[in-house]
């Protein structure tokens, strides 16, 4: 890892000003960025830590939704959304291992948009609103393929607002070595409308399975997707699973999510 300078702002204005400079990067929990810097895939001149900014930490419920500060750690999301949004809490509680959850943040996970990460599926299926210091994005506009998001240089996530669905479930088939999702499916139902987001499966990153959404909006039962076919084409292939295997898992996990949604 190359050396760098350190900045620890305590408010959003200072953070924005520091991040406007060249070769500067945000660090939140560091659970992705530090390994990336060790392998020299990132070598910022300056790191700006968000962990000292209290206003972007914590979970606040409001009418019909829950807003989570970008620098809120997985462990805190897991504990504080348990009754508000159990599917989100259980997703957070099953990321990596306890030590990772004690450092990693929701904002870091969304900004990184790893094709096998869990939170992008929650944001997309949950129709979340992702706010930055400059503007706000719908989850549909935010994720733009592998490790790509709509964020521009110097822009950082400040908070994420999740509408509370009528029922929801996240089903993750764990890749046992990394503990990321080999495939993960998040299903929500709100006012009869169903959204299904799939992570870990597509070479283009997290996506909505619209055919399943349609079928499940008409009939919220596992049987409703029985005749749908998930093509293996475009699915991730690696030593952990073939494209056909991942395609198979998409349907199985969607079915399990429907069965267990509450």
């Amino acid at each position: 890892m190359y050396d760098f300078a350190v900045e620890r702002p305590t408010n959003l204005d200072d953070a924005s000003r520091l991040l406007a400079k060249d070769e500067t990067q945000v660090i939140a929990g560091g659970q992705t960025l530090i390994p990336t810097m060790k392998s020299r895939l990132a070598s910022p001149k300056t790191l700006v830590s968000l962990t000292g900014i209290d206003e972007i930490k914590g979970v606040s419920p409001s009418q019909g939704s829950v807003t989570i500060g970008a620098a809120t750690r997985h462990v805190d999301v897991a504990n504080e959304t348990r009754t508000l949004y159990p599917a989100l809490a259980s997703l957070a509680a099953n990321i990596g291992d306890p030590a990772v959850r004690n450092r990693g943040t929701i904002g870091g996970s969304l900004a990184n948009n790893d094709p096998s990460a869990c939170y992008p599926a929650a944001a997309l299926a949950g129709d979340a609103e992702i706010k930055t210091q400059e503007r706000s994005y719908s989850a549909d506009d935010f994720f733009c393929g592998l490790f790509e998001t709509a964020l521009s240089e110097g822009e950082f996530i400040t908070e994420i607002r999740f509408p509370i669905p009528d029922r929801a479930s996240y089903q993750k088939f764990e890749q046992p070595a990394s503990r990321f999702a080999l495939v993960g499916v998040f299903v929500t139902q709100k006012s009869g409308q169903v959204r299904v987001a799939v992570t870990g499966a597509s070479e283009e990153g997290v996506y909505r399975w619209k055919e399943a959404e349609q079928a499940l909006s008409d009939d919220f039962r596992r049987e409703a997707i029985a005749d749908l076919i998930v093509p293996a084409e475009g699915k991730i292939v690696d030593i952990h699973g073939s494209a056909a295997y991942r395609a198979h898992l998409v349907k199985v996990l969607t079915g399990r999510a429907v069965d267990s949604a509450h």
Partner: protein
């Protein structure tokens, strides 16, 4: 260069290091606390687990400056004041919870974090909590036994 001041096992320590110095490097190289092991350096194995403000973290995946002002506990602080083994350490010895011992500092620190939150964990809860601690030797069975025994001893003492 950054100057990092933190409390380690109850004692305040200050030392200069580079921005890129990991907490694991800082503990081992600057403070000479080599009980914290570095197995993978890629956030996978958990040999480097220490507590920062009471919570288990992988010290190889945190910069030393991120622990500025924090209260850090390492395996060296798990022994009793007279130098004898602490309850969890003693249970690992009694129940053969280690073979080569490389993973043990991280296992003990993770176990301590678990037992603080959950004084009477089930076998499943122990295995789940140790998800990020890898052991190449024991097959985990005796580690689980050791933690169950330590939990019992600690409950009996309170």
């Amino acid at each position: 260069m950054v100057t990092v001041t933190l409390t380690v096992n109850g004692q305040e320590k200050t030392s200069d290091c580079e921005g890129r110095s990991l907490l694991s490097d800082f503990l081992r190289d600057n403070l000479n606390l080599t009980g914290t092991h570095v197995g993978c350096d890629t956030s996978q194995c958990g040999a480097c687990v220490v507590h920062v403000d009471g919570e288990a973290v992988k010290s190889c995946t945190m910069f030393a400056w991120e622990a500025q002002g924090a209260d850090v506990a390492t395996i060296e602080g798990m022994a009793e004041d007279d130098g004898s083994l602490g309850t969890i350490q003693q249970a690992f010895q009694d129940h053969h919870g280690l073979q080569c011992g490389f993973c043990t500092p991280g296992m003990v620190m993770s176990a301590a974090a678990l037992l603080k939150k959950n004084p009477d964990p089930t076998e499943y809860e122990i295995r789940d909590y140790l998800e990020g601690n890898i052991c190449r030797c024991t097959g985990y069975q005796n580690i689980v036994h050791a933690i169950q025994a330590a939990a019992q001893t600690m409950r009996a003492a309170t």
